[in-house]
């Protein structure tokens, strides 16, 4: 009886590392797409099986035309600051060209930290065996075709097929 209890405690202590992550990217702003990419690449580097599913506006992150020009919102973004830390006035953020300029600056800063552009980031993920998928429903909705998407995208799949990829008891689904 006693030994059984001790065994039970041991079992709880035993580490059960994550074996698979399935990451869903549904938003197309710079920070949302990069959050997905950093988490996906980090998982691949840790030897965790990785599936990434891009849907709705997240598709911008794998669409050839848009993927390397993603923006961060300069209006309605309370965390936005001027260089130096002063609050960024929403009125200013709405002026033409401001969002483009701010987003460009942000991409530059990220580049200085050795963060690659989106297309290269996708290549890094697939180089380590990570898989990139596009959501069929969203692709149809935005009237996109497979050839509009980056070559690293494995295929366009349904949400049902995505869930099939999420099997296993040490799997986590992450929604960014």
């Amino acid at each position: 009886m006693e030994t059984k209890e001790i065994e039970k405690k041991k079992e709880i202590k035993e580490k059960k590392p994550l074996e698979k992550v399935c990451i869903i990217c549904a938003k197309g702003s710079l920070e949302d797409v990069y959050a997905t990419l950093v988490m996906a690449n980090g998982a691949v580097m840790e030897g965790i099986e990785t599936n990434v599913f891009f849907t709705f506006f997240g598709l911008d992150g794998i669409t050839k035309k848009t993927m390397n020009h993603l923006h961060t919102a300069t209006t309605g973004n309370p965390a936005m600051r001027m260089p130096g830390g002063l609050p960024f006035p929403t009125m200013l953020g709405g002026l033409p060209g401001v969002e483009t300029a701010v987003s460009g600056m942000m991409r530059k800063q990220m580049g200085e930290l050795d963060m690659p552009p989106v297309d290269e980031f996708l290549e890094m993920i697939t180089a380590g065996g990570g898989m990139i998928y596009a959501c069929k429903l969203a692709v149809d909705m935005f009237k996109l075709k497979k050839e509009d998407l980056n070559d690293e995208v494995d295929s366009i799949i349904t949400i049902g097929e995505f869930y099939e990829l999420c099997d296993g008891d040490r799997t986590q689904i992450i929604f960014t």
Binding site: L113, D114, A127
Partner: protein, 103 residues
């Protein structure tokens, strides 16, 4: 910090088994750490290990992107050499500290 005997040499290692002092490293130590991970080292592995050691000595932070652009090996190749831990395992075998980079 603890002292461990690897390949007949006394070395200081961290809790996770990374060498604390990269000057204590030699190729036999590399082979033994690699064996434990399940990797058999080839010349190509040593090219990467030497590159990592050089950069660490120069005080540069390492990312797999940097290694991929070094001309020593591309990222796909790096994953082939050190499966499931391109930066973690290679750093451990190279006798340098655990990588602190997220990329």
């Amino acid at each position: 910090m603890e002292v461990q005997t690897i390949a007949g040499a006394q070395v200081n290692v961290s809790e996770e088994g990374y060498l604390e002092d990269m000057s204590q490293w030699n190729e036999d130590i590399a082979r033994e750490i690699a064996n434990e991970i399940g990797i058999e080292l080839t010349d190509k592995h040593f090219d990467v290990l030497n590159y990592l050691r050089e950069k660490t000595e120069a005080g540069e932070a390492l990312t797999i992107r940097k290694v991929g652009k070094s001309g020593v090996v591309d990222i796909k190749g790096l994953y082939k050499l050190f499966p499931k831990g391109p930066l973690k395992f290679s750093s451990k075998i190279a006798g340098i500290p655990k990588p602190t980079s997220c990329i």
